[in-house]
Amino acid sequence: MLSEYTGMVIMLLFALGISVGMVVATSLLGPKKKFAEKMEPFECGEVQIVSPRQRFSVKFYLVAVLFILFDIEAVFLFPWAILYKKLGLFGLAEMMAFISILGIGLFYVWKRGGLEWE
């Protein structure tokens, strides 16, 4: 019996071949005329005023942390959802307790202004 993952490996190899091939092809086929002004990063015709290598808004970190929290919740929900009809009322009560705790967390973040973008 052929493993299900064989097809996936073949697909991965093809995808790798296509994308690497494209990058190689475009770097080989295109012209290469380099001069200092052209190699500047695009800044609407100006010389770059500030470097992009600097700190950015803390908001993005907050979104990342919230993502981890709620994605783990989703991961817990996946096996539960499949077994739901077998678990019945017990499963519903258990998961609603879990979701309501996380819901309180969401409500708290919301009220503290963690979801506001100005």
């Binding site: 475009t26 959802a81 819901g103």
Partner: protein, 355 residues
């Protein structure tokens, strides 16, 4: 053993041919042509070979040739390795997600059971989410490695938006899993043989939320704040040229096909025709023998499946040319404050009904 391998290889080539070979190029043309029709213009029809214009279909070839022969530009101060790596990281997941997507049922051909999916994983749907989220790295790396302020802003927006909607996407699917009791996309598809078992009737709210979240995940208008032309030049791919630029577009178009395919499987009866069961279709072509009738039914099912997929691609394109872009705070509000609580409520309601 060798036959199994050969069949798998055939399926891989079919999927690659359909997604990378057919849909990705043709959609670049469809997008322009549909915008032209909706805006009452004639549209892309200038490229011609010896005077033949063929509705502008040669634009696909012209675009391809142009992208191959453009200079591969890496700006000063950029990280050349990461800059080259990011389109690869963005494109590969888009192609691989299609491995778990079935494009037909199971058919008895020459005494052999042929399942029209490359890898029939038990965790099919989870695999789709897992692989799709790897693409986020591609966009982060693209923005950061370009040494460009617009790119960085675009990639920060992309990341925040993609991970926000990933949560919502995961939670909207829970209702579907509860109804069909499986994460295998083939089983979910097979469970929708009767018309009123289609996901759209069992999970109407789930369908609307999933489609919204997946369009946002793919960063298409009205959720295209990450690459907003009027604010950020082109967002994370400002500094990309040639085929590397084209690869980001290919990834977007292939993801569009994948989204349409998954919506079709989860909510629109996969490869089934309304009110016609596979058994009755098989008996209709009974005079062709087992293999013959199975072959005909297989072709019909694949045709029906891709018709539905094309419909959803059309739907996404219509949305693109109908709605204006949302503001970034509106996008994040929709994800966290509306779709997330609604999807949790959807789980509760589904649970109460099923009990």
């Amino acid at each position: 053993m060798l036959l199994d391998f050969f069949i798998t290889l055939l399926k891989v080539l079919f999927v690659l041919g359909v997604t990378v070979g057919f849909f990705a190029p043709i959609l670049t043309w469809v997008e322009r042509k549909q915008s032209a029709i909706m805006q009452d213009r004639i549209g892309a029809n200038r490229a011609d070979i010896l005077g033949f214009r063929a509705l502008g279909l040669f634009h696909i070839m012209a675009d391809g040739l142009k992208m191959f022969t453009k200079e591969d530009f890496i700006p000063r101060g950029a990280n050349p390795v990461l800059h080259t790596l990011s389109p690869i990281v963005a494109l590969i997941p888009a192609i691989i997600t299609f491995t778990v997507v079935p494009f037909g049922g199971v058919y008895d051909l020459f005494g052999k059971e042929v399942n029209l999916v490359i890898a029939d994983l038990d965790v099919g749907l989870l695999f789709v989410f897992a692989i799709a989220s790897i693409a986020t790295y591609g966009y982060v790396i693209a923005g950061w490695s370009s040494n460009n302020n617009w790119s960085l802003l675009g990639s920060m927006r992309t990341t925040a938006q993609m991970i926000s909607y990933e949560v919502t996407m995961g939670l909207t699917i829970i209702g579907v899993l509860m109804v069909y009791e499986s994460m295998k996309l083939t089983e979910i598809g097979a469970a929708q043989e009767s018309f009123f078992d289609w996901g759209i009737f069992l999970q109407p709210l789930g369908f609307i939320m999933f489609l919204t979240a997946s369009i946002a995940e793919n960063k298409r208008i009205p959720f295209d704040a990450p690459e907003a032309e009027s604010e950020l030049v082109a967002g994370y791919f400002t500094e990309y040229s040639g085929l590397k630029f084209g690869m980001f577009f290919m990834a977007e178009f292939i993801e569009m096909v994948t989204i349409s395919a998954i919506v079709t499987i989860l909510f629109f009866g996969a490869w089934h025709i309304p009110f016609i069961t596979t058994a009755s279709l098989l008996s209709l072509f009974d005079f062709l023998g087992t293999t013959g009738s199975n072959l005909v039914v297989m072709l019909i099912h694949v045709g029906v499946f891709f018709t539905k997929v094309v419909f959803f691609i059309w739907f996404q394109m219509t949305i693109r040319w109908t709605l204006p872009r949302f503001r970034y705070d509106q996008i994040m509000d929709l994800g966290w404050k509306i779709l997330l609580p609604l999807s949790l409520a959807n789980i509760l309601v589904t649970g109460l009904i099923l009990i």
